[in-house]
Amino acid sequence: MYGKGLRPLSIATVAMIAVAFSLVFFYAPLDADQGFIQKIFYLHVPLAITALVGFVVGAVFAILHLRSGDRRWDAYSYVSIHMSVIFGVAVLITGAIWAKASWGHWWVWDEPTLVSFLIVFLMYATYYPFRYAIEDRDRQARYASVFAIVAGAFVPLNFMAVRLAQSLVHPRVFATANGGLPGSMMFTFLVCLAAVALLWVTLVKLELTAKSASGQLKRLRRALDAPASGGGSPRIAPEVS
């Protein structure tokens, strides 16, 4: 059900990432201030935006789950958050590399942008133990949805607070009074953002397809494991771990 259109989507994603990276290294000009190091911006920022939007998307799916009671929305919410956490790992690592190259430190604890993202990331890292600590499937889905909504509401609030805060070293690029990006850099950035967002969508679809297939397999095992109509049928094979 979820796998429909996965192949063209995957091909489009690979093509889009190839185009985006080509633009980064062969089209976008070198930054006058940071030089070649600034190329990390085209990877780090789209990953961060996609991860944060993904958390909010997870909250929207959680609302739909609580409204309808449809477990499908819970699966969407879980997979959105799961993928955003993976993207969050990439954001933290690429950010640390950029920080080391620009500021000479892997991490700066005084910087609100860095610390706020870490807080959001760690908050979502608790989603897994919280979710899987509950055995009853319906309660698990309900409580996980409540968590996703509360945490999802925190993401934009956190983002606004950071924008209002006085930044020490982390640059503010968009919507600033003292300049943004020149045209060619902005174009490259938007292509990179589209490529990373497309990658997120593709991986979410892939994960949903795998989860759906796994669920179907469990159903099949249960159906086969049930006693045959004649009775006395031997039990089916043990579950493959």
Binding site: F25, F36, I37, I93, I97, A101, L199, L217, R221, S233
Partner: protein, 75 residues
């Protein structure tokens, strides 16, 4: 291809280049690890499906054989 590389802006492999390469390699590595995990999952599901298909076939054969045995007993 070399001409294409020359047309590109400078690709310095000095200190800055190493960090940029590091960031992009980390991203690609994470992607490869994720895809490898998904491939392992897919293999496990395939194995399980094959196993279930085998048991389903055995069960059908067993059910087909069972009435014949009963007929033999009653006769």
């Amino acid at each position: 291809m070399p001409g294409f590389l020359f047309a590109a802006p400078a690709l310095p492999l000095d200190e800055a280049g190493k960090y940029v390469a590091g960031a992009y390699v980390v991203f690609l590595l994470l992607l490869v690890v994720y895809v490898a995990i998904m491939a392992a999952k897919l293999q496990r599901m395939e194995r399980e499906l094959r196993e279930l298909a085998g048991f389903a076939e055995n069960r059908v054969q067993g059910e087909e054989a069972a009435p014949t045995d009963r007929e033999g007993v009653s006769a």
